[in-house]
Subunit: 512 residues, 2 copies
Amino acid sequence: MSDVGEGRRARGGGAARRAERTAVRIECAKFIERNIPNLEILNEEALQIIEHNAETILEEIGVNFVENPAALERWKDAGADVQGERVRIPRGLARELCKTAPSSYVQHARNPERNVTVGGKGLVLAPVYGPPFVRDEGGRRYATIEDFQKFVKLGYMSKWLHHSGGTVCEPTDVPVNKRHLDMLLAHMTLSDKPYMGSVTEPVRAEDSVEMSKILFGDDFVEQNTVMTSLININSPMTFDGIMMGALEVYAQHNQAAIISPFIVGGAMAPVTVAGTLTQVLAEVLAGVAYSQLIRKGAPVIAGAFVTSIDMNSGAPTFGTPEASHVTYGVGQLVRRLGIPYRSAGGFTGSKVPDAQAAYESANSLNMGLLAGVNFMLHACGWLEGGLVSSFEKFVMDADQLGVMHHLAKGIDISENGQALDAIREVGPGGHYLGCAHTQANFKSAFWRTNLLDYKPYETWEEEGARDTVQLARERVARMLADYQKPAIDPGVEEALNEYVAKKKASMPDAFM
Amino acid sequence: MSDVGEGRRARGGGAARRAERTAVRIECAKFIERNIPNLEILNEEALQIIEHNAETILEEIGVNFVENPAALERWKDAGADVQGERVRIPRGLARELCKTAPSSYVQHARNPERNVTVGGKGLVLAPVYGPPFVRDEGGRRYATIEDFQKFVKLGYMSKWLHHSGGTVCEPTDVPVNKRHLDMLLAHMTLSDKPYMGSVTEPVRAEDSVEMSKILFGDDFVEQNTVMTSLININSPMTFDGIMMGALEVYAQHNQAAIISPFIVGGAMAPVTVAGTLTQVLAEVLAGVAYSQLIRKGAPVIAGAFVTSIDMNSGAPTFGTPEASHVTYGVGQLVRRLGIPYRSAGGFTGSKVPDAQAAYESANSLNMGLLAGVNFMLHACGWLEGGLVSSFEKFVMDADQLGVMHHLAKGIDISENGQALDAIREVGPGGHYLGCAHTQANFKSAFWRTNLLDYKPYETWEEEGARDTVQLARERVARMLADYQKPAIDPGVEEALNEYVAKKKASMPDAFM
């Protein structure tokens, strides 16, 4: 940070001021450590019913491990009943296997100040993942690698975002079998925050490990977790060979995986919340247990991606109360497993970063904080049901993540917090603006937005009566203009570039 | 409701369809009864510290009852130390006096189906209160009685809103000493939901009681609560004669009052949360105790209006984490007093119903639900820090209140909720859309918006790529076009009109 400031200071007044602004913007908050309770909406009886039913699913119905003969062998050896691709797991076995998964782990970043601890009372915030489109002032269009790089830069400069994420958008202008290389390169060189590995083919997971070894060193990667990658389960109860192949690579290398049922309620899970919770728990038990069959102690996060569905149109819906119920409930179930919890994000079905987008995202973000989520993917930038990464919404949501940081701090009940002397000093009918206690505390007392409008009406009108989207657009442009690459060993960067170039040259382009 | 349907049925196809839509729209949900826990962010030790400190304030610093000699006499008689206008209340006395306040009460509406119970696990939602301006497609302007009537109509037609409210906007075109009459008349005749009385002068509170007697009958009003009115405390620790005069009128008639410190944190209360909680509790204890000095058993709600402040500009800020902390904390303190709790709302500082407005409002609404609020004022329509009532935001927020209803229902853990048979029927790799359980439950399974966009991208674009504000604007116009007055006894309506006309004729116009 001081590098940026000093490098610019010589350029005089305007540049110095600009440098100062830049210096502020590349601050990065520590991951959240909650000092507030979780909202526990299921009682003990309900939890036990769901846990019992989940074991019934595993024992009587079973789960499918498809196109993965080695997985079937592993399950047979562990004591499951395997018939074809169907794996039936005796009551209690999966839960027993889950016990070797750590209750928390550290994901290292190349800048050790950006390391995150995943689990416990912690909450790590990561950006949107997966959209093929981006939206900016020009409208919606297919995402490119240049867009991808911009999102990585914005993420690097977002104070309340702890993680650089993974596929912040799909760089559709790069061949599908090569884009993971460019994505990893961007995360590794344009940011110094922790990142996610590729999961779209086991061989791409191998590339992720190899490139991480270049960045961190071989030994470091074998001894530490430097990636957390997203392994979706094809709900209901189906574990496909490609995703499991990627999981196998990561677990073997002691790299973390998010074991995550992908649920559109009413389609991939029952239309009722308790039924969805039951299926999610069964899937999580099977998936996490399988990760431990690969390597005991491999770090995993359990959770779910959950949306509801508009039963009139079939469209997925976001920020809805039923998705909140599932998120609260899965949190309780996963905590009883003793495993870090993944869920939620700044979800919305809206096409544009309007009030709908904000209502739905705020509902989702609040729920994620109070549901005890430990790793929140899609925390910023998500639009249109995950089809679109939005530049404006990225900075809008990222600003709201600051609200979550402050909310999680809880209430300071120290003598200074109690402020009895201030109340005595001011007395009935007085005011606190000038009192000593206010002067001593005002700088840190209240969260302050970096984006939203707090101005007097007249000023706001004179400055063009801008709404949030316009303010966000200007902030995106400013951040990208101010962006400076974090320092990296030139030898390492060269080696990464070489790896990517060599890999790309070794195979023909594929676009499907 | 059936009246509307039948009245229109004869008019043929289009009218019948329109009647059907209208019939749906004037549904009114029952007030919320929570089946989810509250979020309790203060532990027992913190609660005891704050309760101890609040009693210290009352005992050592005291509160002012200004321009109200009768109040000072009452306090003297009750055992307080009164010096000038300062009332010092011995430790424990105020809490003891509060014990006669009921833990819940029924506020009657002229349509008994719209009665609300305030207290316990309940949550009653009421619209914005107080703004001098309105905003619509033409921008911001001073509110008129016509605007006021429109808001009452929108409130009447909003399914998730239980209460017609009070000053939904200030009808600035009506003389200040007469506008309460027009406002009451609008609530009484254009809606059949419960409403609030006037508090701006004791004599206007008397008018509110008199008009209520015309509407409900003399005996009914003396024996039942038909109004809940807003009594602000001039924080810090000042109870002004006008507000207390209105409180006295309502308490004498067994009508409910909201005893509510008005706090802009850092100005009217300490800049720290625990300090604010302490002061709020002291004020609430004194105010509620005073209501019981007027009439033991008079129904009251305790709570606070709380915002934080932008320490850079002095502007009040909304939807912030510190206001959330205060709201959660006051809820715990008020519940320990055994009194219904008022707080929160769809707060925002934004000038327009944009993403900022929605983020801040959603933060506030979620917090209100989870803080255990029993009576939520400003639940819809609030804009620009309470300076503006917005038509669009009214229907936007009112739609989100449906999310709160569904969230509060909690999780159905019945056998149907568990859905184990559905999971068995569908099995690994199947889908739930067609299964019997989904068919049986899909209509009620998921909350569905009446406003937001769930359409496919192409449809949305063809229909003009409307954002939430545009959708809301159209919905406002449609609701007002479809509005039909609820049936009222013509004799009662005539008597109300006569009362208003006579009162207006009895005094000169006043505009200050």
